[in-house]
Symmetry: C2
Subunit: 523 residues, 2 copies
């Protein structure tokens, strides 16, 4: 049985070795010192577990500690230092909606804030317990017991699934029927369906079905003031779409207990190619042409030269566009051939040629394993005193060149100023006809032990400001939580904030749920 | 200069002849008597045009009459009878947002209801003026002067367009740049961008980009309590999507003055085929397989045998699936070949073979001309005493066979009971991996002159109830307005209604806009 890492990512058995990590960092920084995690420091609970919840709630140290924070860089640094001062007073694990409703009732009576918790992979302080006005304690609502695939409609390609199910369990339950949800965020192994929906998670598909939004057929959410359940239709034109109010609500209006999700047959046909470009801006133009072609690749991941180096794809300074198509229905040669031709017209070459064919296995699995390892690597970086993080945005194609230049130069300047040196790389995780979703990674050595959090805060401020100035959104798929509030508050239409406040007064009038996430409720 | 038809569709010069219409009806009902429109009866205005608005508002008879109603069957029957008793007291034609805001201010001061009016093509009583509580008059806000394409970003394939522009003017403005919005509802010639967005109009594409929702990049709406403007991003994961609150708001929260829309290069490659099926349920299975294949045809229109007959496609009792692909980038043989193979595997034949190739012109234009003629035909039917109307829905593939059977049998029974006989046909206008959007047409002779409205009301009730019982939405793309309220009120999640009321209190606290559309504001 694997052991969940209390401060870091995933399970301790899968940790990335420090040797491997050092090897990756050395080209940039030289060797680094190694530190081990400190002993866990946890405050006493402010209250006992209320009697009505004792059957499925606990105030045990490990439960409280592991529900203290998400998995952002500062969360992990704090956890690594043993600082679990923000822990909830207790954790409830309801096994059904009745028990979940009981938790909300107790919270109301006892004046407790409620933090819905799926896999706990938030990187925006979205699952950190906070007290709202008048609250005398904080409980965390862990949804992991709501983990069933209840029903599969294999005619309509739909499955009714509980919100607390983790990615692998979901896929395992669908596989015997030949289906897959095909939603593979980097947090896949340690995040849940309800969390994906609440945070508008970005998934596997680089085009069209980029966010979980597009996979939600209907949804059921328990609010403190009633059940918000949308109807099962493939589409409707009746009023504003109520699904879209729930998707992205980040646990501030209610708790998502189940959803009918759009599933699909497991793909068997695949085609792919890696296109190399000497010039990054030519690569961007080629990626734009593919994004606007209507070919709809499932993967369309442009790596700039630094990103290609960090990921070991190529070390010759080329940018690389990774293209892939997949289907359960038809061979994809016409698709990949045309996408490659578009790239070739714009200066791309394909040193390794295309792959195409029908394979029973999943050729993407090797890549996915490496992709899912990313967060483990960040843990090892922390032990080596390296500040390593990512941020993402989306902007129009027209704005991208300026955004890329200014984010890179602002971040490089900040890393030089704060860390002596550092690197900033960029890839596109998703692309649209009207613009890309650029995803930046930055690395720098902490100027000294203990300075990690303030250094990160300053880097995050520079990043957010650079995105906002260049016309990018503060998040393409990491959500708002509390960390992105300074920028979200400015990019959100002011009347929408008033509407959201009004919605909050209807569904959670006492402000039990997630105080400070997305917005500050006006009471 | 063409003359707008006051009671009927479009321009009088384009009216369909009664002879042609009789020819179409005769196979079903025999010849019918012909009646001519009655003289216009219009009530006196309840108030004068307020001084502040006189420069761009009028109470002239023709303006008031032509803004009395939409273009539903009962609207046209009332207009044909000369009954314009629901006319607004005056019509304002603001030429910019400043004048539009002045209209809202005057409405607030003078206690007038405000009905935003684009092309006036509503078939759900969405543009009929009504007084809300405490109102002493009704003004209609005609947006047709806000009709510019302001800016085109041909890198990001975006255009900033004013809400009052009509379909043809919009396409004409984009054409010289090589672009098209490609949103062609049947009302295309006499409906506006703002109207499409407010009502979640269904458009040209049978798959993926089915509703205008998917073409909206960002939007600007003037509410009585401030400007609701979303930011220009190709995508974002920051909170619930504010665009999706505006899309489908049906003029109840504000008036859409402009939007950045996703445009595309005019397609040059086309491929198509008409697949014939002896058995309708086999045709449905083939359509489902295409919808779930990932091929994403731009047209995937299944006609049942009655529909094929009414449209003169075939008279042999076959059902016909009309498939088409289009692209500005690549030939489409691989796409059409696979779609045809899927159909052939499920019993389809293709008597006329496929068409495929690169054509500078628009092969769809002939079809579109015939499609756009549909509403004119309905006018002629009214003159011939025939009740002719359509309704649409969307349901899962699993529910469709039962929905089809029960809607057909309920409507046929009702037509027999009320009209002696009648026909009900069905086509799919749009399809999704999880279900089709069936579109029903019904025809019956009015039992007697003067009984049209009560007969239609009863037929509409039977249709709505049959859809609701079988698990279909009350509308896939005709919106809710007031006509669909009895069913929408039941299909909308109750907490969503409370949220909508709360949003209304924030943005239109005095209930100026569209009283009774979508919901009844609780004051």
């Amino acid at each position: 049985m694997a052991t969940r890492n209390v401060w870091g990512w995933g399970v301790t058995e899968a940790a990335v070795s420090l040797e491997e990590t050092q090897g990756r960092i050395e080209p940039f920084f030289g060797a680094s010192e190694i530190e081990n995690a400190s002993a866990m420091q946890l405050p006493k609970p402010r209250l006992e577990v209320p009697a009505a919840l004792r059957e499925f709630a606990t105030a045990a140290d490990l439960d409280r500690a592991s529900h203290s924070m998400g998995k952002s860089y500062p969360d992990r640094v704090r956890g690594f230092r043993g600082d679990f001062s923000v822990a909830p007073d207790f954790v409830a694990y309801p096994r059904n909606e009745r028990e979940l409703s009981a938790v909300l009732e107790v919270a109301e009576k006892e004046k407790l804030s409620v933090t819905p918790f799926g896999g706990g992979s938030s990187v925006v302080a979205g699952v950190e317990p906070k007290l709202g006005p008048g609250h005398r304690g904080a409980l965390t609502l862990d949804l992991s017991k709501l983990s069933r695939v209840i029903e599969v409609d294999d005619v309509s390609h739909l499955a009714r699934i509980e919100g607390g199910i983790f990615g692998p369990a979901l896929e395992q339950a669908l596989a015997p029927r030949g289906f897959t949800l095909r939603h593979f965020p980097q947090s896949f192994e340690f995040s849940t369906l309800g969390g994906w929906i609440a945070t508008r998670a970005g998934g596997h598909f680089a085009t069209v079905l980029t966010h979980i939004d597009e996979l939600v057929h209907s949804v059921r959410m328990i609010s403190p003031r009633g059940v918000f359940e949308t109807r099962s239709f493939p589409a409707s034109g009746a009023g504003s779409d109520p699904n879209r109010l729930v998707v992205g609500s980040e646990g501030t209006l209610g708790v998502i207990t189940e959803a009918w999700m759009r599933i699909r047959p497991k793909p068997t046909f695949r085609a792919g190619a890696s296109m190399h470009f000497e010039d990054f801006h030519e690569a961007v133009e080629a990626t734009r042409a593919v994004a606007q072609s209507g070919l709809s690749p499932s993967n369309c991941r442009l790596l700039d030269s630094q990103e290609a180096m960090i990921n070991g794809v190529t070390f010759d300074g080329n940018s690389v566009l990774v293209l892939a198509f997949e289907s359960a229905d038809h061979p994809l040669d016409a698709w990949i051939d045309r996408a490659m031709a578009i790239c070739a017209e714009l200066g791309g070459t394909c040193p390794r040629g295309k792959t195409s064919g029908q394979k029973p296995g999943d050729a993407g699995e090797a890549w996915r394993a490496s992709f899912l390892k990313g967060p483990y690597l960040q843990d090892a970086m922390i032990r080596l005193g390296v500040i390593a993080d990512t941020f993402e945005t989306a902007c129009t194609w027209k704005r991208f060149p300026e955004l890329y230049a200014s984010v890179k130069s602002d971040m490089e300047a900040a890393l030089t100023r704060l860390c002596g040196s550092g690197i900033v790389s960029c890839r596109f995780t998703h692309v649209y006809p009207d613009g890309p979703a650029p995803y930046f990674t930055f690395l720098g050595r902490s100027p000294k032990r203990g300075a990690e959090l303030e250094t990160w805060n300053e880097l995050k401020r520079v990043a957010g400001d650079a995105l906002a100035r260049a016309g990018g959104t503060i998040t393409h798929h990491h959500a708002v939580g509390r960390t992105h509030r300074p920028w979200y508050d400015r990019e959100r239409p002011e009347p929408f904030a008033r509407v959201w406040n009004a919605a909050k007064r209807e569904l959670d009038p006492l402000g039990l749920l997630n105080p400070g996430v997305l917005f500050d409720a006006a009471h």
